[in-house]
Protein backbone atom coordinates (compact mmCIF):
# COMPACT_ATOMS: atom_id res chain seq x y z
CA UNK A 1 0.00 0.00 0.00
CA UNK A 2 1.51 3.35 -0.96
CA UNK A 3 1.39 6.50 1.05
CA UNK A 4 -0.67 8.19 -1.62
CA UNK A 5 -3.49 5.67 -1.46
CA UNK A 6 -3.60 5.91 2.29
CA UNK A 7 -3.83 9.66 2.21
CA UNK A 8 -6.81 9.62 -0.12
CA UNK A 9 -8.67 6.93 1.75
CA UNK A 10 -8.47 8.48 5.19
CA UNK A 11 -10.53 11.60 4.47
CA UNK A 12 -13.20 9.61 2.65
CA UNK A 13 -13.65 7.32 5.62
CA UNK A 14 -13.88 10.33 7.92
CA UNK A 15 -16.41 11.88 5.58
CA UNK A 16 -18.41 8.65 5.57
CA UNK A 17 -18.45 8.54 9.35
CA UNK A 18 -19.59 12.14 9.49
CA UNK A 19 -22.44 11.34 7.15
CA UNK A 20 -23.50 8.35 9.22
CA UNK A 21 -23.36 10.51 12.35
CA UNK A 22 -25.43 13.23 10.73
CA UNK A 23 -27.99 10.73 9.51
CA UNK A 24 -28.28 9.18 12.97
CA UNK A 25 -28.76 12.61 14.52
CA UNK A 26 -31.39 13.51 11.94
CA UNK A 27 -33.19 10.24 12.64
CA UNK A 28 -33.28 11.06 16.34
CA UNK A 29 -34.39 14.66 15.88
CA UNK A 30 -36.95 14.17 13.14
CA UNK A 31 -40.24 12.53 14.00
CA UNK A 32 -40.41 8.96 12.79
CA UNK A 33 -42.51 10.01 9.84
CA UNK A 34 -44.91 12.69 8.90
CA UNK A 35 -48.48 11.51 9.22
CA UNK A 36 -51.56 12.82 7.51
CA UNK A 37 -53.98 14.80 9.56
CA UNK A 38 -57.71 15.32 9.51
CA UNK A 39 -57.02 18.63 7.76
CA UNK A 40 -55.16 16.82 4.96
CA UNK A 41 -58.05 14.44 4.49
CA UNK A 42 -60.41 17.41 4.37
CA UNK A 43 -58.14 19.06 1.76
CA UNK A 44 -58.07 15.93 -0.34
CA UNK A 45 -61.87 15.67 -0.19
CA UNK A 46 -62.22 19.33 -1.16
CA UNK A 47 -60.04 18.67 -4.22
CA UNK A 48 -62.15 15.68 -5.22
CA UNK A 49 -65.62 16.84 -4.32
CA UNK A 50 -65.31 20.64 -4.22
CA UNK A 51 -66.69 21.03 -0.73
CA UNK A 52 -70.09 19.59 -1.60
CA UNK A 53 -72.19 18.55 1.38
CA UNK A 54 -72.35 14.87 2.22
CA UNK A 55 -75.21 12.80 3.45
CA UNK A 56 -75.05 10.18 6.16
CA UNK A 57 -76.03 6.58 5.86
CA UNK A 58 -76.16 4.33 2.76
CA UNK A 59 -72.59 3.14 3.40
CA UNK A 60 -71.87 0.11 5.52
CA UNK A 61 -68.24 0.36 6.56
CA UNK A 62 -67.04 -2.88 8.07
CA UNK A 63 -63.82 -2.50 10.06
CA UNK A 64 -62.40 -4.19 13.12
CA UNK A 65 -62.75 -2.09 16.27
CA UNK A 66 -59.27 -3.15 17.33
CA UNK A 67 -56.59 -4.14 14.82
CA UNK A 68 -53.83 -6.16 16.43
CA UNK A 69 -51.66 -5.89 13.35
CA UNK A 70 -51.75 -2.56 11.55
CA UNK A 71 -50.09 -4.10 8.50
CA UNK A 72 -53.16 -6.06 7.53
CA UNK A 73 -56.47 -4.51 8.46
CA UNK A 74 -59.49 -5.92 6.65
CA UNK A 75 -61.96 -3.40 5.27
CA UNK A 76 -65.32 -4.15 3.73
CA UNK A 77 -67.48 -1.49 2.12
CA UNK A 78 -71.06 -1.99 1.04
CA UNK A 79 -73.06 0.91 -0.40
CA UNK A 80 -76.82 0.66 -0.61
CA UNK A 81 -77.95 1.20 -4.21
CA UNK A 82 -80.19 -0.46 -6.79
CA UNK A 83 -77.23 -0.41 -9.25
CA UNK A 84 -79.42 0.18 -12.30
CA UNK A 85 -78.33 2.08 -15.41
CA UNK A 86 -79.94 5.27 -14.09
CA UNK A 87 -79.13 4.93 -10.40
CA UNK A 88 -75.85 3.45 -9.32
CA UNK A 89 -72.77 4.11 -7.21
CA UNK A 90 -70.08 5.67 -9.38
CA UNK A 91 -67.14 5.63 -7.02
CA UNK A 92 -66.08 5.09 -3.45
CA UNK A 93 -63.05 6.81 -1.96
CA UNK A 94 -61.42 5.60 1.23
CA UNK A 95 -59.22 7.78 3.45
CA UNK A 96 -57.24 7.18 6.63
CA UNK A 97 -56.46 10.32 8.64
CA UNK A 98 -53.43 9.00 10.51
CA UNK A 99 -51.42 7.39 7.73
CA UNK A 100 -48.46 9.00 5.92
CA UNK A 101 -50.77 9.48 2.92
CA UNK A 102 -54.46 10.11 3.43
CA UNK A 103 -55.69 8.05 0.46
CA UNK A 104 -56.21 4.30 0.78
CA UNK A 105 -58.19 3.18 -2.24
CA UNK A 106 -60.61 4.48 -4.88
CA UNK A 107 -63.19 2.17 -6.43
CA UNK A 108 -65.05 2.79 -9.69
CA UNK A 109 -68.28 0.85 -10.01
CA UNK A 110 -70.66 0.36 -12.93
CA UNK A 111 -74.23 -0.96 -13.10
CA UNK A 112 -72.66 -4.28 -14.20
CA UNK A 113 -71.06 -4.55 -10.76
CA UNK A 114 -74.49 -5.56 -9.49
CA UNK A 115 -73.54 -4.48 -6.00
CA UNK A 116 -71.38 -1.57 -4.87
CA UNK A 117 -69.38 -3.63 -2.44
CA UNK A 118 -65.72 -4.52 -2.15
CA UNK A 119 -63.25 -5.75 0.43
CA UNK A 120 -59.51 -5.44 0.68
CA UNK A 121 -56.76 -5.18 3.30
CA UNK A 122 -54.93 -2.02 4.29
CA UNK A 123 -52.14 -0.70 6.45
CA UNK A 124 -52.84 1.60 9.37
CA UNK A 125 -49.88 3.37 10.99
CA UNK A 126 -51.69 4.13 14.25
CA UNK A 127 -55.12 4.41 15.86
CA UNK A 128 -57.15 6.59 13.53
CA UNK A 129 -60.36 7.23 11.64
CA UNK A 130 -61.15 5.56 8.35
CA UNK A 131 -63.51 7.55 6.13
CA UNK A 132 -65.40 6.31 3.08
CA UNK A 133 -67.13 8.64 0.63
CA UNK A 134 -69.49 7.29 -2.01
CA UNK A 135 -70.39 9.26 -5.12
CA UNK A 136 -73.71 8.33 -6.72
CA UNK A 137 -74.50 8.53 -10.42
CA UNK A 138 -76.62 11.65 -9.77
CA UNK A 139 -73.69 13.35 -8.03
CA UNK A 140 -74.95 12.93 -4.47
CA UNK A 141 -72.29 12.20 -1.86
CA UNK A 142 -72.49 10.05 1.23
CA UNK A 143 -69.86 9.46 3.86
CA UNK A 144 -69.20 7.10 6.72
CA UNK A 145 -66.50 7.09 9.34
CA UNK A 146 -65.17 4.52 11.79
CA UNK A 147 -62.31 4.48 14.23
CA UNK A 148 -59.83 1.61 14.34
CA UNK A 149 -57.60 1.13 17.37
CA UNK A 150 -54.22 -0.14 16.20
CA UNK A 151 -52.07 -2.12 18.61
CA UNK A 152 -48.99 -2.55 16.38
CA UNK A 153 -48.65 0.13 13.70
CA UNK A 154 -48.33 -0.98 10.11
CA UNK A 155 -46.09 1.82 9.13
CA UNK A 156 -44.17 1.06 5.98
CA UNK A 157 -43.53 -2.48 7.14
Amino acid sequence: MTFHQDATRAPSRRRALQLVGAAALAAVLAPRMSLATEAQVADEMKKLFGGKSMGEGKIKLDLPEIAENGLVVPINIDVESPMTDSDFVKSVHVFADGNPLPQVVTYQFTPQSGKAAASTRMRLAQTQNVIAVAEMSNGALYSAKAQVKVTIGGCGG
Binding site: A24, P100, V105, Y107, Q108, G114, A118, T120, G156
Partner: protein, 109 residues
Amino acid sequence: MAIKSTPRVRVPAQAKAGEIIEIKTLISHDMESGQRKDSSGKTVPRDIIHTFQAAFNGKPFFTAEWFPSISANPYQSFFYKAKESGELTFTWTDDHGAEQKATAKLTVA
Protein backbone atom coordinates in the same frame (compact mmCIF):
# COMPACT_ATOMS: atom_id res chain seq x y z
CA MET B 1 -41.10 -6.02 -17.45
CA ALA B 2 -43.84 -7.98 -15.88
CA ILE B 3 -45.14 -8.65 -12.42
CA LYS B 4 -43.68 -12.07 -11.66
CA SER B 5 -46.26 -13.36 -9.26
CA THR B 6 -49.12 -15.51 -10.49
CA PRO B 7 -52.40 -14.04 -9.36
CA ARG B 8 -55.10 -16.18 -7.79
CA VAL B 9 -58.69 -15.57 -8.80
CA ARG B 10 -61.83 -17.23 -7.54
CA VAL B 11 -64.91 -16.98 -9.71
CA PRO B 12 -67.93 -19.29 -9.48
CA ALA B 13 -67.83 -21.54 -12.55
CA GLN B 14 -71.57 -21.23 -13.09
CA ALA B 15 -74.15 -18.58 -12.42
CA LYS B 16 -77.81 -17.97 -13.17
CA ALA B 17 -78.74 -15.04 -15.37
CA GLY B 18 -79.14 -11.97 -13.17
CA GLU B 19 -77.24 -13.52 -10.29
CA ILE B 20 -74.73 -11.29 -8.51
CA ILE B 21 -71.53 -13.25 -8.07
CA GLU B 22 -68.62 -12.47 -5.79
CA ILE B 23 -65.12 -12.49 -7.29
CA LYS B 24 -62.05 -12.76 -5.07
CA THR B 25 -58.54 -11.98 -6.25
CA LEU B 26 -55.10 -12.13 -4.66
CA ILE B 27 -51.67 -11.32 -6.04
CA SER B 28 -48.24 -11.49 -4.40
CA HIS B 29 -46.55 -8.10 -4.32
CA ASP B 30 -44.48 -6.24 -1.71
CA MET B 31 -46.48 -3.03 -2.23
CA GLU B 32 -43.41 -1.03 -1.18
CA SER B 33 -44.97 2.08 0.33
CA GLY B 34 -42.08 4.48 -0.19
CA GLN B 35 -42.17 5.25 3.55
CA ARG B 36 -39.94 2.44 4.73
CA LYS B 37 -36.19 2.87 5.35
CA ASP B 38 -33.61 0.13 4.81
CA SER B 39 -30.89 -0.78 7.32
CA SER B 40 -28.63 2.04 6.08
CA GLY B 41 -31.37 4.60 6.62
CA LYS B 42 -32.15 5.15 2.95
CA THR B 43 -35.79 5.39 1.94
CA VAL B 44 -36.87 2.39 -0.10
CA PRO B 45 -38.48 3.79 -3.25
CA ARG B 46 -42.21 3.34 -3.74
CA ASP B 47 -43.19 0.37 -5.87
CA ILE B 48 -46.81 -0.66 -5.75
CA ILE B 49 -49.54 -2.04 -7.95
CA HIS B 50 -51.63 1.09 -8.38
CA THR B 51 -54.46 -0.18 -10.54
CA PHE B 52 -56.57 -3.28 -10.62
CA GLN B 53 -59.26 -3.67 -13.23
CA ALA B 54 -61.88 -6.30 -13.97
CA ALA B 55 -63.56 -6.60 -17.37
CA PHE B 56 -66.17 -8.86 -18.91
CA ASN B 57 -65.70 -9.69 -22.60
CA GLY B 58 -63.32 -6.73 -22.79
CA LYS B 59 -65.65 -4.24 -21.11
CA PRO B 60 -64.35 -2.96 -17.75
CA PHE B 61 -66.89 -2.99 -14.93
CA PHE B 62 -64.80 -2.54 -11.80
CA THR B 63 -61.61 -0.56 -11.13
CA ALA B 64 -59.65 -0.18 -7.92
CA GLU B 65 -56.99 2.49 -7.58
CA TRP B 66 -54.68 1.36 -4.81
CA PHE B 67 -52.52 3.71 -2.77
CA PRO B 68 -49.46 2.81 -0.63
CA SER B 69 -51.81 2.22 2.32
CA ILE B 70 -52.92 -1.06 0.74
CA SER B 71 -51.30 -4.09 2.39
CA ALA B 72 -48.65 -6.27 0.78
CA ASN B 73 -50.04 -9.12 -1.34
CA PRO B 74 -53.17 -7.15 -2.14
CA TYR B 75 -56.50 -8.91 -1.85
CA GLN B 76 -59.57 -7.59 -3.59
CA SER B 77 -63.09 -8.87 -3.61
CA PHE B 78 -65.97 -7.35 -5.59
CA PHE B 79 -69.15 -8.30 -7.41
CA TYR B 80 -70.44 -8.85 -10.93
CA LYS B 81 -73.98 -9.23 -12.20
CA ALA B 82 -73.97 -12.24 -14.52
CA LYS B 83 -75.96 -11.85 -17.73
CA GLU B 84 -74.38 -14.15 -20.30
CA SER B 85 -71.52 -16.59 -20.60
CA GLY B 86 -68.17 -15.07 -21.39
CA GLU B 87 -64.69 -14.34 -20.19
CA LEU B 88 -63.59 -12.24 -17.25
CA THR B 89 -60.23 -10.51 -17.51
CA PHE B 90 -58.34 -9.12 -14.54
CA THR B 91 -55.41 -6.73 -14.94
CA TRP B 92 -52.93 -5.51 -12.35
CA THR B 93 -50.63 -2.57 -13.27
CA ASP B 94 -47.63 -1.50 -11.20
CA ASP B 95 -45.56 1.70 -10.91
CA HIS B 96 -43.21 0.57 -13.70
CA GLY B 97 -46.11 0.11 -16.07
CA ALA B 98 -45.74 -3.66 -15.84
CA GLU B 99 -48.91 -5.70 -16.10
CA GLN B 100 -50.16 -9.07 -14.98
CA LYS B 101 -53.34 -10.55 -16.37
CA ALA B 102 -55.60 -13.39 -15.36
CA THR B 103 -58.71 -14.71 -17.04
CA ALA B 104 -61.64 -16.82 -15.93
CA LYS B 105 -64.55 -18.33 -17.82
CA LEU B 106 -68.05 -17.66 -16.61
CA THR B 107 -70.91 -19.90 -17.70
CA VAL B 108 -74.41 -18.56 -17.33
CA ALA B 109 -76.98 -21.31 -17.29
